[in-house]
Amino acid sequence: MNNLVVLPLLLPLCTAVLLLFFKERIQLQRIISAAGQSATAIACVLLLVQTGSSGIQLLAMGGWAAPYGIVFTADFFAALLVTAATITAGFCLAFSFGTVGSEREKFYFYPFFQFLMAGVNGSFLTGDLFNLFVCFEVLLISSYALLVLGGTKGQLRATLSYMLINILSSTLFVAAVAYLYGVTGTLNMAHLSVRIAEAGQGGILNVIAVLFLIVFSLKAGLFLFFWLPSAYQAPPPAVSALFAALLTKVGIYALVRTFTLLFPGDPGVTHVWIAWMAGATMILGAVGALASKDVMRILNFNIVISVGFVAFGLAVANEASLQGVVFYLLHDMAAKALLFLLGGMMIREAGADQLSAMGGLISRAPWLGWMFLVAALAAAGIPPLSGFGGKLLLLQGGLQAQSYVLTAISLFSSLIVLYTLVRLFIKAFWGEQPAGPATAVVAEADRVSNAAAKTDARTDADAQTKPDVAANAVAFATAAKASHGSATQPRNTSRGHLVVAGVLCLIVVLMGVGSEWMAQAAAEAARTLVDPSVYIEAVLKE
């Protein structure tokens, strides 16, 4: 029994509720959410230290022992992910100060952010399948709100399809839980694992396993990622960085838990499915990344590739590859958040989101440029940086299991990651600045003011938002014209945001330099994945 286990869920929840009372006071909201985020991070680190020193930490809610109540379980894997998620989200939070705009901040941006964190941390720590569903819903509903907050046309379109897909997958999740409950009669994960092993996995249980695979793949963007590239394009960069760093990772975590703890029994069926899906994800993600000409879209397809990469480790499922999964997940959270933050700054700096309209940014924003190069190399897995260790372990696992085709595909996809990101770097930062960007911004401003005019013309009831939109458009248009008039004048990237990205970049580098330590931690975390009996005993002994 250890109350620390629930703090990563409880602290963001309390912060969010507190934040609801200060709708208009932006400065106070920022302070509270920063303090809440730091407190959560401290709790996570404490939990991590404790799990590292004295094994799996357990909290049975309300004192009801394992199969009957809801247990929160922190093994080293979950503790590592919670810590990484909270710290990475902290950077996204710091980046959102001053980039999301005061309209969003006044409309509960920070509470939604904290609710999302509560959902994410809860999903990592829970030991109950239905509670996992509830935590998923907490994080998904917050993500709907964060995605649509601001209400531009693009966001509305993206949210409509994103919500539809997620409601559908949640519905399937409930159906899968119903089937599993019908077969086993329990919902506690450790108890489920025991019951499934007793019954002997096969037949109906394999069908349920594949249903879970479909559900979590929809959430994680494994093969069923068709919704992801356009959905993650719509929100402001701080939000898409948060999504990129956390949301798909929660789905992957659920996949890893499901197929190492609940359904490890018949890898000939389930893991072959995962292997095919992983291979297809890497190939299709690579195709998408190569074909895109838009900064955010290229980065979005890179998320897809890395999801495929992790799934490859899960499909192989030996000790080395599971260690690689843990290592790579930790790296990927930090690296993807960094890439998206830098991508957002790049777009703001260039005033355009198409690659063809960018160029010559290195003279105006040298720090941004070199940090982007570091992030790109880290994502591709160049040796001194963080992506290398995880990829090495994954490939080692793949070779040990003699799945040469998948290993080749994942090596090839790393090459594509390197190519697409470095191409992004070269096009955006080198060469001459084309005449495009300023005009693009003006065109955008014209479009916005047209839209505003249209909104004005329409006699709808939401009089509250109209002046805002119009005012925005006017401000935007004047800003754009000013920058058009003096196109050579550099537009300042905020120093504070550069520092935020710089610290995150430093973490990515340190994760690579300290690969030895990271690999040890990953090995420790992979122990419960390789041998779930440790987890089961810890949960059911009391």
Binding site: I141, I167, A178, Y181
Partner: protein, 112 residues
């Protein structure tokens, strides 16, 4: 009894999926709520439909029905209620802003 309910759930699911594939956004939402109805019935069915008293200890019966799925369904109902109301408002807002409730037309505008 289980067979009858399984058939009903199957029909609900089929109708729900058919409606989700429609072009009108309103049909999509109705399809989603049919789907949630069907999985809630599925939760109830999968726990077994044997006769027993309602799960109230005051009934002092020999056997009760399984109380757990009822709690799960109750949780799931409020969640899907919240999500559905959000989706309705989103659809309303989209109709105002995009001027259409045809999902095909929405996508066509995005391509421009």
């Amino acid at each position: 009894m289980e067979l009858l309910l399984a058939l009903t759930i199957g029909i609900l699911f089929a109708v729900g999926v058919y409606m989700i594939l429609a072009r009108s956004l309103l049909r999509v939402i109705l399809g989603l709520s049919l789907l949630t109805h069907s999985v809630h019935l599925l939760l109830l069915t999968m726990s077994g439909l044997k006769a027993g008293a309602p799960p109230l200890l005051g009934e002092k019966a020999d056997s009760y029905v399984d109380p757990l799925p009822q709690a799960l369904i109750l949780t799931s109902i409020v969640i899907s209620f919240g999500v559905t109301s959000l989706y309705f408002v989103l659809a309303y807002k989209s109709y105002q802003k995009l001027g259409t409730d045809d999902t095909e037309q929405m996508r066509r505008e995005a391509d421009e």
